[in-house]
């Protein structure tokens, strides 16, 4: 067994942690650093609840071995707002009832965040495809799609 000393950036802060090499980023975040906003669902990379951004791109934290985050930037849902105000996507999820039990919400919003940065003017069909890898068992998805569409409108509408 190999024990690793890993330095990486979590939501803008430098973190240093020791972890066994066979543990995943999900273990490190939840059990090592108390970042319980990252949810464990299937543990096989299918459900999307454990999504975090690795250098800005969505990954399943359950499928990233701990040693792989050395020197890299990890963003969880806490990294989107500033602690005082919510990110526009978070506000629209609240406004549209896009969160019910809330378990899929962090992964859903992070996936939407990365998607909107690359596709600022999506159609509803684009949004549906973008979140196809994130499962929600409460909302029926419609309100989630409404929330993402509203956030996209807000971001691209000229501010007055």
């Amino acid at each position: 067994m190999t024990e690793l000393s890993i330095v990486f950036t979590l939501n803008g802060e430098r973190r240093e942690i020791r972890a066994p090499a066979h543990h995943t980023l999900l273990h490190v975040l939840r059990d090592g650093l108390g970042a319980v906003e990252v949810k464990e669902g299937c543990g096989e990379g299918v459900c999307g609840t454990c999504t975090v951004l690795l250098d800005g791109e969505p990954v399943s934290s359950c499928l990233v071995l701990a040693g792989r985050v050395a020197g890299r930037d990890v963003t969880t849902i806490r990294g989107l707002g500033n602690g005082e105000t919510l990110h526009p996507l978070q506000e629209e999820f609240v406004a549209h009832g896009g969160a019910q039990c809330g378990f899929c919400t962090p992964g859903m919003i992070l996936t939407a965040y990365a998607f909107l940065r690359e596709h600022p003017h999506p159609t509803r069909a684009d949004i549906r495809r973008a979140i196809a890898g994130n499962l929600c068992r409460c909302t029926g998805y419609t309100k989630i799609i409404d929330a993402i569409a509203a956030a996209a409108d807000r971001e691209t509408r000229p501010r007055g």
């Binding site: 690793l4 066979h22 543990h23 096989e44 990379g45 690795l54 071995l65 792989r68 890898g133 994130n134």
Partner: protein, 292 residues
């Protein structure tokens, strides 16, 4: 559940990686994007004593273009293929096939070489490389060898790779005008492996008839299957949905799919025909368009 503990190495150079694979031949597993191997580790379907993590080998992410051949480093990511980043845009078939793989998180980390070396019979990229008559470059401390795709895929999750060898690159042909490619697949849910996928490469003659067709299928056997007989029968055909359907209907397809929990053998046969006709039609249409 965490994986069974293993010895972990993340070598900084290719030669270091090859030394590790040789020193632990049979006990070591190379880790590329980890989107198949990590779930196998955590489900404890794989229990290697040693994991050689390749993520620091950025030299294996490089893409080169040389005399009509595109050489893609084994660690090129599915997202890079999907976006057609840099020289990868020279192979539009990759841009079409990559979005069909898993979900966006799998595509962020998953690699071309990882998918080929894993050799899932229902995966898209092995069928793509087989349809393109690609060549796989394998390296060990013993030397380097170039293996044609038809010899690389040996069985379910089994390839020609020896325990001390690493797949370092894939060579694919770059086509000019007059050649088109397409992939069609059916899966039950977004992100699932295909029940059947069909990849077609069509070259048209100046009169617009099929000069050469290549078809590779995923999901109908232990390895990606080429349809040699059908490919011959397609030569000279004037492309249309009707003519392709007829050319394929007049003969038994050279596949022997098995029934499993996902689909019956008869249904896979049906899908193979329908999807192949559609792929041929779209590939022909692409062949008729000028290439960027």
């Amino acid at each position: 559940m965490p994986a069974v503990p293993f010895e972990y190495h993340a070598p900084a150079t290719l030669s270091e990686a090859l030394e590790l694979l040789q020193a632990h031949a049979g006990d070591a597993k190379p880790l590329a994007g980890g989107q198949s191997l990590v779930p196998m580790l955590t489900l404890r379907l794989a229990r290697p004593a040693v994991v050689v993590d390749l993520h620091r080998l950025h030299e294996l992410e490089e893409v080169r273009r040389d005399n009509g051949v595109l050489e893609i480093g084994a660690l090129a990511r599915h997202r890079a293929l999907e976006r057609g980043e840099g020289l990868l845009s020279a192979c539009p078939l990759l841009q079409e096939a990559a979005p069909l793989i898993g979900n966006v998180r799998v595509r962020t980390l998953g690699t071309l070489g990882g998918s080929l070396a894993h050799a899932d019979p229902a995966a898209e990229l092995p069928a793509v490389v087989r349809a393109l008559d690609g060549t796989l470059v394998l390296r060990s401390l013993r030397g380097e060898r170039a293996v044609p795709a038809q010899d690389f895929f040996v069985g379910i999750l089994t390839t020609a790779l020896q325990p001390d060898e690493l797949l370092i690159a894939v060579r694919l042909p770059i086509f000019g005008p007059g050649v088109g490619c397409a992939v069609e697949e059916f899966s039950r849910r977004a992100g699932d492996f295909a029940i059947v996928a069909s990849v077609a490469v069509v070259e048209l003659d100046p009169a617009g008839r099929v000069a050469r067709a290549r078809v590779a299928l995923a999901g109908v056997g232990p390895t990606p299957q080429r349809l040699a007989g059908a490919e011959e029968a397609l030569v000279g055909v004037q492309p249309s949905a009707e003519t392709f359907r007829k050319a394929l209907a007049g003969r038994p397809l050279e596949i022997e799919p098995e029934s499993d929990i996902h689909a019956s053998a008869a249904y896979r046969h049906h899908l193979a025909r329908v999807l192949t006709a559609r792929a041929l039609e779209r590939a022909s249409a692409a062949a008729g368009r000028p290439i960027r």
